[in-house]
């Protein structure tokens, strides 16, 4: 999700020169391994960049954005990429499961041609434990929601917002958009009223549309607000979690021309409804389903080997010859290219589109989402790969179906806990508009 959101952001932003990546998530795949380096390498970013993980809190997305703002201000013409991504882990049947959603959001922070300026930021840190996930827990726990609301949200958030407004010299009444994805119905409206922000400014937290994506959510709502902003609008975004972190933005003239590649509205309109709760439980590994009915599945990742091949595995990079329409991947690519004699150049196929040369849908193999769809694809520029197909309905597949590449989990080493990623091909679907049309 983080790679997909960042790709959407970077491609929408056009040319950029990223020199730092901030990745925020309390549900990152690794406790010891820089998760932001996974994102950076999948995006094909230069190895000279800095990368930072920020986790452990609902507010880590905003914390990352604040830090990126400082970094961009200090480094002049270089950009900082902020990605917040979260998969809230919940036990089956809990309220948390009902309200949660998975999401990732990304913003590019720089000093040139910006669509919104950072006016001010403010942070308070209070060890108010509304919810937590212990180091050895695989799901979270929370205290009574009424206590969280009365002692936490309605006391700590207004205090921080008032301080932010005071610090920036902006009156509450002049705030045009107010984002505060704290739990509970009508919470944002109540907080607006408590702080003197107009009721019209309080934005829908989209919990009913896509669930509460915790640390990603303030950024998701900020993206949504920026996509629909008018120049001069003041946008206040806040996040709650062991205190409050809040930022104030002013939209610039550039926002008029800002056309996201795929907007939040497009995403929400393009969703596919899934009503099979059991499938959800299987996807979440909340039922002990039989992964080994066709044999043992443990397959340890060879880290030294994966490192040697990282350009291909992480960024789908190979050698490509436009004239002969050939591509070679992996360790033997260089030898093969020299043997072939064509004019081969390094190229990442991560952003390439391709068509299906052949495919199959296997109903017998073990999968958490049968049928297993695989195919041989041919990139539009030339070059083939045999790949897994994802988000693919067998009924809609055929030779010639257009696909794009998506960075996905390739496997998890059952005994070693290592999550291995690689690229899968996903059928290209039209970008949907909220009105039900296609873009």
């Amino acid at each position: 999700m983080a790679v997909a959101a960042a790709n959407n952001c970077l491609r929408g932003a056009g040319q950029s020169s990223v020199d730092s990546v901030y990745f925020a998530s309390p549900s990152a795949p690794f406790k010891l391994r820089l998760n932001s380096s996974i994102v950076a390498s999948a995006l094909g970013l230069d190895e000279s960049i800095s990368a930072v993980d920020i986790g452990s809190s609902r507010r880590s997305g905003i914390s990352a954005l604040v830090q990126a703002g400082h970094q961009a201000a200090a480094s002049g013409d270089r950009d900082a990429l902020v990605v917040a991504s979260d998969i809230p882990p919940n036990r089956a049947g809990t309220a948390g499961e009902l309200i949660s959603g998975d999401a990732a959001a990304a913003l590019l922070v720089g000093s040139e041609n910006v669509i919104a300026e950072i006016v001010a930021s403010y942070c308070e840190t209070v060890d108010f434990v509304d919810a937590y996930q212990g180091a050895t827990d695989d799901t979270g726990h929370q205290w009574e929601d009424r206590w969280i609301r009365d002692e936490g949200i309605f006391k700590l958030i207004p205090r921080a917002i008032n301080k932010l407004l005071e610090k920036s010299g902006i009156s509450a009444a002049s705030i045009d958009r107010f984002i505060c994805p704290a739990p509970g119905n009508g919470t944002t409206a109540k907080l607006a009223k408590m702080t003197g922000i107009s009721a019209e400014a309080a934005l829908d937290n989209l919990f009913l549309a896509c669930g509460d994506s915790r640390c990603a959510h303030p950024l998701l709502l900020l993206c949504h607000a920026l996509e629909n902003a008018e120049p001069g609008q003041l946008i206040l975004v806040s996040a709650f979690g062991q205190g409050t972190e809040a930022m104030l933005f002013r939209a610039t003239q550039v926002c008029r021309d800002f056309k996201p590649r795929i907007s939040v509205d497009n995403m929400l309109a393009g969703g596919a409804e899934e009503t099979n709760y059991f499938k959800y439980l299987v996807f979440r590994d909340r039922v002990d389903w039989d992964k080994e009915s066709r044999g043992p599945v443990d397959s340890p990742t060879l880290l030294s080997s994966a490192y040697r091949d990282r350009q291909f595995l992480n960024n789908l990079r190979g050698l490509h010859c436009a004239e002969t329409r050939q591509a070679f991947f992996g360790n033997e690519a260089d030898y093969k290219a020299r043997q072939s004699g064509g004019d081969f150049q390094e190229k990442s196929f991560a952003d390439s589109t391709a068509t299906i040369l052949s495919w199959s849908a296997n109903y017998l193999g073990v999968s958490l989402d049968p049928a297993i769809c695989t195919g041989i694809i041919e990139f539009d520029e030339g070059g083939r790969l045999i790949v897994d197909l994802t988000e693919a309905d067998p009924q809609g597949l055929s030779v010639g179906t257009a696909v794009e590449m998506s960075y996905r989990i390739h496997g998890v080493d059952a005994s070693k806990g290592f999550t291995r990623y690689f690229w899968k091909a996903k059928p290209v679907v039209p970008v949907k508009t909220p009105a039900g049309g296609e873009q």
């Binding site: 044999g295 091949d309 291909f312 992996g330 040369l357 849908a361 041989i376």
Partner: protein
Amino acid sequence: MSIRDKVAVIGMGCSRFGERWDCGPELLALEAFSEALQDANIDASQLQAAWFGSTNPELGLGRSGIGISTALALPHIPVTRVENFCASGTEAFRGAVYAVASGAVDIALAIGVEKLKDTGYGGLPLSGLGVKEKHSSATADGPGIFAQLAHAYMHVHGIKRKDLKRAMAQVSVKSHANGVNNPKAHLRREITEEMVLKAPVIADPLGLFDCCGVSDGSACAILARPEIARELGKTNPITVKAVQVIASNGSELENPDWKAASLPTVEIAAKKAYEEAGISNPRSELGVIEVHDCFSITELVLMEALGLSDVGRAPHDILDGKYNADGSIPCQTDGGLKCFGHPIGASGLRMIYEVYKQLSGDCGERQLTDVRLGLTHNLGGSPPSNVTSIAILGQNN
């Protein structure tokens, strides 16, 4: 350089194939080996070298030659274990043929054994493609990867799904009809086109009857130079006309003109094998063929790759009965992988066993008339990346 007529098959044996809960790999091997020794009319002490094919050493006789040497009490001779996916049996055959042809040994053994039914689950044990599989390969098992051949074939040749399904069904109907007459076959029951078409889908568009089963079994050959064969009383021995084992080198996927509906490595292997055997017109010269029908679509496309059907015409030839037991090129007269079974390391030698028996006039109810040349073929791996083996045997004229 050709090995044509330099090596004779002086004896062969084959175990009964199937779910052999009654025996492990040692007894399977002994079953085939005993028959072969008797057929060759020699004593095991006369063997001077052996090649052993298997693909699942952890379930079988281990990774070296020791397991098979011990099981068969071979007389302290070099024993080489080989593994080349589904071509492993023919790979063992090639090693023994080359050893005899070179003059290094007088009599050599080639044996393939596979014990697949000791895993505790259905289907094939997972076999590795190497490090790449761990890091980036698609989740494609046999049915999934071979089903892709069918979708591409329909697209490239403009064939409707229902027409291809019917032709594929006939591949299996024919093999089941043949398997009935083979007492050693795993599956011995006739099926109808309707049964095939109504069967559950395994990997679209392949259904249950488009896929071969999982079997235990062993087959072996004893080889000697023709003059030694004659000394042993084989007055008109069956000889090896050609053996080719070719590994894909990546050129299928790397060739922008390849549309995933053909088997280029097989085409190359067939050309070399025909040349080695001195065959100019395989359609009229081959009297029997045993090909790698792991899936019905594989057999269908193979008919084109082996030059036996025109490109795009295999479905028509199949439906016309060209490859039936009474057709112009009888195929899988023993039931094929589909019904005889597919104990991987033994399969190539099992095919050679059938061709040898047909050439010897020793096939009982399924005996064909006037067979002078026969071909076997294996495809180990997947359509875009495989080991192809072809052996051609014939009367020594």
